[in-house]
Structure formats: structure tokens, C-alpha cells
Amino acid sequence: MKALALLATLMTGALLLYGTRDFPAWGDPQSPASSYLSPVYIEQAVQQTHVPNLVTAVLGDYRGYDTMFETVVIYCAGMAVVSVLRRNREE
């Protein structure tokens, strides 16, 4: 069973590594993200949100949905620990 799990892990890892071959090069200015998305943020974020810190503007406004679930992940971690460990003093 352990050998099977190891085999599955290695195969998944190899598949993922094979998938990275299609990525654009690191910091490639011609990649789709750098040629369409980032310039829009850099040019328009301050006008559209009045937030000088572009990281905050992207995190809180453009990618607000992502940030919401980051918060929910932290919340779930807390609730999981409480539901496993917490017990009342009387017991």
C-alpha cells in the first residue's frame, strides 16, 4: 500500500512538473499576465480605488473574493482545532 501511495505521489509530481513546461519564462514581459493584466492594474488602480498601495488594491478590491476565502481558511483552522481539542472544565 505504501509503495502504491509513493507511486501515485511520484506520478502526480511528474505530471505537474511536465505541466510547468508550458508556463511562460520567469518574468517574461510577453507573457499574457504581464502584457494584459498587470499594466491595467498599474495604470488604473489608483484612479479606480484611490489606494496608493497597489498590493492592497489588488488584494482587497480586484481579488477580494480570494482574500475572503483566505480568511475563511483561517477561520476553518480555528474551528477545527476548537472542535477537536476544546473541552469544558467540569469533565
Binding site: 480605488t49 482587497g60 475572503m68
Partner: protein, 155 residues
């Protein structure tokens, strides 16, 4: 086993005094990081971690009971639920006023500040929610993990 317990690092005058002096400044800096996230690196996550660390420092230097005098279990539970509720509530409120989910400019109908200013202020609102959630969940995790769930002795 008993001997090890008697030499815990917490019972030390220097540590206690320095922690007592440091905690207000850590909390002030945490609030600054949350509030100033629009202009400098920072925001809800970082500021929340700083605020949570100040209470964990109290629990480490003194004990869990002392930190619970400043942040009671009830308030902690309330805030750790309130944080995500603020975030999701702001998002839902945007849809109620006719925008998309988390499109803060729709809240202009509620208080007319201008759509652009509302996007800035909406980011601040959700940062407060994130900060509350991160701070209280951090403290909650420390309390539960260090005391094995009964929240009284701790390390």
C-alpha cells in the same frame, strides 16, 4: 518530570517586566499596520498577526489566565466569528444595493461618499474584518494547542 515544570521560563521578573512594557507598543503597531495598509506595506493579515502575537506573548510570559483577563474567552469567540462575518457581510451588502459581490462602489447608495472613495473605504472595512479574524484565531489556536483544550494551565 516535576522538576522540569518548576523551571519554566515564564516565572522570571525580567521577562515579565519587559513583556508588560512591550505589549502596548506591539498592539499600537498592529493597529497602525492595519489602518495604514492603504499607504504602506501591511493590512489585515499582518496587523492581525501582530495583535494576536501580543496576547500570545502575555500568555507565554505570565500564563493563559492573565491573557484572558485582557481578552476574555467570550470576546475572543465573538471577534473570531465577527471577523469573517464583517468581510462576507460587506460583500453581501454590496449585492443588496445592486452591485456585484464585493463591488464596494455599490455602497454609495447607503452613504454618498462617491464610488471611488467607497472602493477605498470598502477595502478598509474588509481589512478590519480580516484583522479581527486573524488576531482572534491566532490567540484561540495558541490557547487550545498549548493547554490541550482546557484553556487554564498552558505552557
Amino acid at each position: 518530570m516535576r522538576e522540569i515544570k518548576e523551571y519554566t521560563a515564564g516565572e522570571d521578573l525580567i521577562i515579565k517586566t519587559s513583556v508588560r512594557l512591550l505589549v502596548p507598543f506591539i498592539q499600537l503597531f498592529g493597529l497602525y499596520v492595519i489602518v495604514h495598509g492603504h499607504y504602506s506595506p501591511g493590512g489585515g493579515f499582518q496587523g492581525g498577526v501582530l495583535l494576536g502575537a501580543s496576547f500570545i506573548l502575555l500568555a507565554l510570559a505570565y500564563n493563559i489566565k492573565t491573557s484572558q483577563e485582557y481578552l476574555s474567552i467570550g470576546v475572543n469567540a465573538l471577534f473570531s466569528n465577527l471577523g469573517p462575518a464583517i468581510f462576507i457581510g460587506v460583500g453581501v451588502l454590496c449585492t443588496v444595493f445592486g452591485g456585484l459581490f464585493l463591488d464596494y462602489s455599490a455602497l454609495d447608495l447607503l452613504i454618498p461618499l462617491g464610488p471611488v472613495e467607497w472602493r477605498s473605504f470598502g477595502i478598509f472595512l474588509i481589512e478590519v474584518g480580516v484583522g479581527l479574524a486573524v488576531m482572534n484565531i491566532m490567540v484561540l489556536l495558541y490557547w487550545n494547542l498549548s493547554s490541550g483544550g482546557n484553556m487554564d494551565e498552558g505552557l
